[in-house]
């Protein structure tokens, strides 16, 4: 912590020529600090559990010898600092320990479960962008200048109510509607292409509703800017007016605000996988928590946390690249 503070002080003192490099450095440093906190927290987790975690994991009827052996294999009989050093060393070599319940390496479990999670999270991410941006922009253009009060009310109410529904409830509703009442899609489990529809839809609808609201508000703000008046003074066709002049400006600000949506999408997969019995990381972590399989929980927490931090970092950098003016000078 102290070294980070002195580093920041010396960096503030040296005027950097390139504001972009300064921004990237600052942002990368924040990422590193957050990653360090994440790693330390996941290491500390097992030590924060009240009572004896190994006894809790193995059950009350496990023999003392078995508990001692497991304690040793987890390294819990070592001094704390040595444990931490060993944890970091293993982490750098990609080792995350062994699952208590299955004795399989955690890294192996994660790499076998991660693809299923990505297979629903990535399409959902793309779908959210592909629907929210055009819908939000269209809503803004159709309702700007108080043109259609009723349309505005309908849009804000619909997206507001949708945005307030938790995704796992939407998922249950979708299952009831499209798998039970109208048996179009399978109820649960990973299978053919049709088994992806409901999980992806459950992940998409709510963030898309929220993001389209943000996009609408941002579009209205951008349309009111002076440079859009300049664009009007050029009498451009509507396509150029909205797509070339408005879109890039509202995209950067919408992404900044919507960046949190993408990390929450990751969290959403935990619940959705449990609704659909989807064999991904989310289903695995819940099972691991119930079974008190701490090394496995630790590993998955690390993966989720690192993914969230990296997504936020990527969004920030993308926004800075698209709109160097606001971001770099802003923070």
């Amino acid at each position: 912590m102290a070294t980070a503070a002195t580093a920041s002080a010396s960096m503030a003192a040296t005027p950097t020529r390139n504001p972009w490099a300064a921004f990237a450095l600052r942002r990368a440093r924040r990422l590193l600090v957050s990653l360090a906190v994440l790693v330390t927290a996941s290491f500390a987790m097992i030590h924060m559990i009240p009572g004896d975690p190994v006894r809790a994991a193995l059950g009350t009827d496990a023999s003392p010898a078995l508990v001692a052996a497991e304690r040793h294999s987890l390294g819990l009989d070592q001094p704390l600092l040595r444990q931490y050093a060993a944890f970091l060393g293993n982490l750098l070599r990609g080792r995350l320990g062994e699952s208590i319940s299955t004795q399989l390496p955690v890294s192996q479990i994660i790499s076998s479960r991660l693809p299923a999670t990505l297979e629903i999270a990535v399409p959902a991410f793309v779908l959210i962008l592909l629907t929210a941006v055009p819908v939000g922009m269209a809503a803004a253009v159709l309702t700007k200048d108080g043109r259609s009060r009723r349309g505005e009310l309908a849009f804000t109410t619909a997206t507001g109510v949708l945005g307030a529904v938790p995704e796992f409830l939407l998922a249950v509703g979708l299952v009831a509607a499209f798998a039970v009442a109208l048996p179009v899609f399978p109820v649960a489990s990973q299978g053919g292409l049709s088994s992806y529809v409901l999980p992806v839809l459950s992940l998409t609808v709510i963030p898309a509703a929220t993001l389209s609201r943000i996009v609408r508000v941002e579009t209205l703000r951008v349309l009111g800017e002076d440079y859009m008046r300049t664009a009007r003074a050029k009498r451009l066709p509507a396509r150029l007016h909205y797509l070339r002049h408005a879109l890039p400006n509202l995209l950067t600000s919408s992404l900044t605000l919507g960046g949190l949506l993408f990390t929450s999408l990751l969290a959403g997969t935990v619940l959705i996988e449990n609704v659909f019995a989807w064999p991904g990381l989310g289903a695995t972590i819940v099972q691991a928590i119930t079974e008190k399989d701490y090394p496995l929980v630790q590993g998955i927490v690390l993966v989720y946390g690192a993914a969230a931090l990296l997504i936020t970092f990527a969004v920030d950098v993308a926004v800075a690249l698209a709109d160097p003016r606001s971001t770099i000078r802003g923070s």
Partner: protein
């Protein structure tokens, strides 16, 4: 800020509660409380009654939502679960909001070093998704109600703390806190007396929203089997139990979900009511529509017709009006003509309608302004049906910092004009853009064309905007306060450039400014606007000593020059211009005019010819021959031009 009793929070809350939204929120809250209190008392026994004869039944008269795998009535269980769900939600909210408040206010109490540490710690924590936090803490505290309450509550702390930090930081920087600090008020007292009362309202609002989120998070945790454990049950647990039976009895799975959504909406409604009462989205007082007596504005409708010598003018505008909802008329019957190649100035104070007049010519009046006119002709075209913007009509705006698109390269913003209106190819248009940028003396134009506006200085941006107008073949450039936002030295460069462009292209210029010195330097004729009307039309050369309208004379007298004795007080015009809604029957300037008589207050004068080539709207115009020279030795029009 002292609290006015009529506007205090309880008072505003009472007012908001009487709105339809408030009534709905209050009713919903009362209903929810009744269900939570009475549900377990009335239906508790029925909800726990095991009936092995009626296992996993569908909806029936005896069991509205069917029965579960032990034959218990699901409808009763959903009702009974209300109390536990709300209790757990409120406990977690208490932990989250309380902890967030403490951690959020901490930086203000702890002093700089520790405070920064807390701030950055919170900054790191908010970067993680909430659910990950919950899962982490649920692991630590173990599966069960207590662990879940702690997990959800603690996971709410970072976002609440971040909000409170932002709020306190903004108040911490305010003058009255600085004043209290100088007076030696202690840190703790400062927090209790100054910070907390001022952040209370947004915090309460956020707490209501957070509670909705906590309800959902908690239900999610119970749904995952990590929250409430049997034999206890909340809505999430019921949902978990019924999901497996969704084939048999889908309603039973949907009912607890619906309860969560509806309760979440109630929390949202409470938040909305608090927000409205807090004045963030206060119920707006209906703006009284001010009806303008039509007789009051009629006179100039038949007013001066710029025909005769102006018949072949480049621009002819007759009876231009810009009105806003509520009957406010910001431009009230302006008629003007601009000759070919002429440089015409339009001056007046802010709010006089000069900018709106210019925007109305270009059809760029912002919503909700309404433009009407007897005639708007430009170069033989009716501008209302046949717009000329982008080709022969160019605009230059006030703030060059804001009038270029920050996301696009400057060259692109220029070249598209040629592509759209002149049918140029992409490369032709790009070449012309570079050429035009060079024409407005932007150094190394080819490189600069590839840059974005933030890499330009203010003066260069304004040049780029002018170059944008030069992409076509402009016959008129409308410049709306083109130099106001610029440094004095840069102002001069931009004015020189405008003069040069006019000399090169023969374009006419309509220069809108509040700065008489600028107009005197660039223009040959000047129109003076006051309260939405033109009050005088005269050659610039006569501005200094020959102005006839008392307002023009006062305006000229208010301009200091290098020759003004710095010890004398600057001349000012007493009073203020009328608001657009308060035009009476008389001359708008009469209340501020030393020469006003009863006639001035009763009837508005029309703009009428006054001497040769001049017009004035005044009942008592000052005759330039026997008038005293205006005090404070005004603009030296001769030397400046």
């Amino acid at each position: 800020m002292p609290h006015l009793p009529a506007n205090s929070l309880p008072h505003r809350l009472g007012r908001t509660l009487r709105t339809p939204l408030g009534v709905t929120a209050l009713t919903a809250c009362v209903l929810l409380t009744l269900v939570a209190v009475l549900g377990p008392v009335l239906l508790g026994a029925r909800a726990d009654q095991v009936d092995t004869a009626a296992i996993d039944q569908g909806s029936s008269a005896a069991h509205l939502l069917g029965t579960d795998d032990l034959g218990r009535d699901i409808a009763a269980r959903v009702v009974v679960a209300t109390r536990l769900t709300l209790e757990l939600t409120l406990m977690a909210s208490g932990i989250g909001v309380g902890g967030g408040l403490l951690l959020g206010v901490a930086p203000a109490v702890l002093g700089r070093r520790l405070g920064r540490l807390v701030t950055s710690a919170v900054g790191v924590l908010v970067a993680f998704p909430g659910l990950l936090f919950v899962l982490f803490l649920a692991t630590v505290f173990g599966v069960g109600s207590t662990g879940a309450v702690l997990a959800v509550g603690l996971a709410t702390i970072p976002p609440v703390a971040r909000l409170v930090q932002n709020l306190t930081a903004s108040i911490d920087g305010s003058d009255y806190v600085a004043a209290a600090r100088i007076l030696g008020v202690g840190r703790f007292r400062l927090v209790v007396r100054h910070l907390l009362p001022n952040i209370a309202e947004p915090c309460v609002l956020f707490a209501a929203q957070a509670a909705a989120g906590i309800l959902v998070a908690f239900s999610g945790l119970s749904f995952l089997g990590l929250g409430v454990q049997p034999p206890q049950y909340d809505w999430g647990r019921l949902l978990n139990d019924q999901l497996n039976g969704i084939y048999v009895n889908p309603v039973a799975a949907l009912a607890p979900g619906a309860a969560v959504v509806l309760t979440g909406l109630v929390f949202g409604l409470v938040g909305e009511v608090l927000a409205q009462a807090g004045g963030h989205r206060a119920p707006q007082e209906r703006r009284q529509a001010v009806a303008v007596a039509p007789t009051a504005t009629v006179p100039t409708a038949t007013g001066p017709r710029p025909d005769g010598p102006d018949a072949d003018a480049l621009v002819r505008v007759r009876d231009l009006r810009v009105s806003f909802p509520g009957g406010r008329e910001a431009v009230r019957g302006v008629s003007l003509a601009v000759g070919r190649g002429e440089a015409l100035g339009l001056v007046g104070e802010s709010g006089s309608g000069k900018s709106l007049t210019a925007l109305a010519l270009a059809d760029l009046v912002p919503h909700p302004g309404q433009v009407s006119a007897g005639e708007i002709r430009f170069d033989g075209h009716d501008l209302r049906t046949d717009p000329r913007l982008g080709t022969t009509l160019a605009m230059v705006f006030q703030d060059p910092m804001a009038s270029l698109n920050p996301a696009l390269r400057v060259g692109r913003q220029l070249s598209e004009v040629a592509e759209v209106h002149l049918g140029a190819t992409r490369s032709q248009a790009a070449a012309r853009a570079v050429d035009r940028l060079a024409a407005v003396r932007i150094p190394s134009a080819a490189r600069r064309a590839g840059q974005r506006p933030h890499e330009y200085s203010g003066g260069m941006r304004q040049r780029a905007v002018i170059a944008m107008g030069l992409m076509g073949e402009p016959k008129l450039i409308i410049a709306d306060e083109p130099t106001t936002a610029l440094d004095v030295t840069v102002q001069q460069q931009v004015l020189d450039l405008l003069a040069e462009v006019r000399a090169d292209t023969g374009a006419a210029l309509l220069l809108i400014s509040h700065d008489l010195a600028v107009v005197a330097q660039v223009c040959t004729r000047v129109l003076v606007m006051y309260a939405g009307r033109i009050v005088e039309d005269l050659p610039v050369a006569e501005l200094a000593r020959g102005a006839a309208h008392p307002y023009t004379r006062a305006l000229v007298g208010a301009v200091p020059t290098m020759a003004t004795d710095p010890d004398t007080e600057l001349a000012t015009i007493p009073g203020r211009p009328p608001e657009p809604a308060e035009h009476g029957h008389g001359c708008s300037f009469a209340p501020r005019c030393a020469l006003a008589t009863g006639r001035c207050l009763g009837t508005e004068p029309e703009l009428a010819a006054f001497g040769s080539g001049r017009r004035v709207a005044c009942w008592h115009p000052v005759d330039p021959i026997d008038a005293d020279p205006i005090d404070a030795d005004p603009i030296d029009a001769e030397a400046a031009s």
